[in-house]
């Protein structure tokens, strides 16, 4: 049974200064099952972030609806954790306090909060930085904290909107491995938006390819690579074949958008 159902969700933005309205997202349906790791791959401006924001409850669909365990999503909630592309740690809170933000909001006892925080600090390899403020951290460390903050809340589904988009290549690879290893050990359900083909394949069970604006799901590609996945898989023939296939798909769309 699907945990998250995106059912004919569409989004049209009102025209600017009396101009014609922009259709960002054509009616789109996706069924996410438990423990799925789905990446949504598309050229920039294809509406993939809009789709994720609708799932998070930060944006309202023009048509259709999103259901989580049968409940219609109307507003944001702790059951859908999100990691953004921009650095969204609260600058006035330390690493640990950031991780505990949602736990405090739930009214969890202090001692239990500290335990959870310590667990996730370890998970994302930030031991020794618990008392640091976000400004003192590198971009990669900030995003690791953001992932820990989202995970500590134990959401039903984790939404990631190009979380590594602002990082350099090396850091990005390490972060992908980190997130993947967390997923392998915790078996979270994940929806991950990216425009990076390699990232989309490496992380996912299924890659959904979106078309250029107005966005729609153009193709679904299963990734038959086993787990645990090691970064060397990126040089395997299977990986290369998938990459070639997706590159062709994306290229067509990018040409339309450019």
């Amino acid at each position: 049974m699907s945990a998250l159902a995106i059912d004919n969700v569409s989004r049209t933005f009102a025209g600017v200064h009396g101009g014609p309205p922009t259709q960002a997202l054509l009616p789109t349906s996706i069924a996410v099952t438990d423990n799925d790791f789905i990446t949504i791959l598309g050229p920039s401006g294809c509406g993939k972030s809009t789709l994720l924001r609708i799932v998070a409850g930060l944006d309202t669909p023009t048509g259709g609806e999103v259901r989580l365990d049968g409940q219609t999503v109307r507003r944001p909630g702790a059951d859908r954790g999100m990691v953004f592309q921009s650095y969204t740690l609260f600058p006035w809170l330390t690493v640990v306090e950031n991780i505990c933000f949602g736990l405090r909001e739930k009214g969890m006892p202090q001692a239990r909060q500290a335990e959870m925080a310590a667990h996730y600090v370890d998970k994302v390899g930030l031991r020794g930085f618990e008392r640091h403020y976000p400004k003192m951290l590198s971009g990669g460390m900030q995003q690791r904290t953001a992932i820990a903050r989202a995970l500590a809340n134990e959401p039903r589904i984790l939404l990631l909107d190009e979380p590594f988009g602002a990082l350099d290549n090396q850091t990005r690879s390490l972060m992908q491995e980190l997130l993947l290893s967390i997923w392998e050990s915790e078996r979270k359900t994940v929806l991950f938006v990216t425009h990076d083909i390699e990232e989309a394949i490496f992380m996912a069970n299924r890659v959904l390819v979106m078309s250029a604006r107005p966005g729609r799901i153009k193709a679904e590609v299963a990734v038959p690579l086993g787990h645990p996945r090691h970064y060397t898989v990126k040089t395997s023939p299977e990986f290369s074949a998938l990459k070639a296939q997706l590159t062709e798909q994306i290229r067509v769309e990018a040409l339309k958008a450019a």
């Binding site: 409850g57 859908r80 921009s86 600058p91 006035w92 989202a150």
Partner: protein, 257 residues
């Protein structure tokens, strides 16, 4: 000099003091050199001597105390009402729509122009002085705090929503801490303005305070005392400004890292 390259702390202090020294030297030259008659401008030495006399023989310390009390009293009243209102306006758009036009209008009303009215309403006692400062500070505080709170980073608010925060949590745990350093900075700025209002209030219808001493000295053509009073206001203002800055640094370490 290269644009935007910072100076070392020691050099900064030296440069800052150098201008004060230059100022006093220029002042000494025009007064001791006889370029300006003593009636119009006292020399630095006379000014210090008059200041000494003020404290030792005319009980000036009491005037200084009263002026400081008035500034702080009026300012704290204005902040106590203005900050919460500004926060409410910044956070909740209907509240902002309700108050903002009036506050923007009231902001342009000069506090000093209210003095005759306030004397009529509240007499020439302490209440009137406090009200002048209140009127001068309140609307500025409200508006600046509202803008600060209203311009909180939207992505931080969204992140808090996805972590399960509700309206009250957003205000208390995102808008407030995010705006706090700027609110403190606003208060520092407005406290500086409050100092100018208090002197205006004391120039008209007061029997004590630094401003009152200045009007008295004017009647006696004692420019030494007047200048001493003005410089003293500057010094007290500078001290309050520096302590405010220090307090902000201690309170919001995350904002200056």
């Amino acid at each position: 000099m290269t644009p935007l390259v910072p100076v070392s702390p020691a050099r900064k202090v030296v440069l800052g003091l150098a201008f004060f020294a230059l100022f006093v030297v220029a002042w000494s030259i025009v007064t001791f050199g006889g370029f300006v008659p003593k009636t119009f401008l006292a020399d630095p030495w006379t000014m210090l001597h008059e200041g000494w006399l003020l404290f030792t023989q005319f009980g000036f310390a009491k005037d200084v105390g009263i002026t400081i009390w008035r500034v702080l009293g009026g300012f704290i009243l204005a902040a106590a009402v203005g900050v919460p209102l500004g926060i409410a306006m910044g956070a909740y758009k209907p509240i902002e729509a309700f108050f903002e036009p009036f506050v923007s209008f009231a902001r342009y009303l000069p506090a000093s122009a209210f003095i005759p009215l306030l004397i009529l309403w509240a007499g020439i006692g302490e209440l009137q002085k406090l009200l002048v400062i209140f009127i001068g500070s309140f609307f500025q505080i409200v508006l600046m705090v509202a803008v600060t709170v209203g311009s909180t980073r939207r992505d931080l608010v969204e992140a808090a929503y996805t972590l399960g925060a509700e309206s009250a949590g957003i205000v208390r745990r995102v808008l407030l801490p995010s705006a706090a350093p700027s609110i403190a900075e606003t208060l520092r700025l407005v406290l500086g303005w409050a100092w100018t209002y208090v002197i205006v209030a004391e120039l008209i219808g007061a029997s004590s305070g630094i401003g009152h001493m200045i009007t008295d000295s004017q009647a006696l053509l004692n420019t030494g005392q007047i200048i001493f009073g003005i410089i003293l206001i500057g010094i007290v203002g500078l001290i309050s400004d520096l302590s405010f800055k220090q307090a902000n640094r201690a309170l919001f370490p995350w904002a200056i890292v």
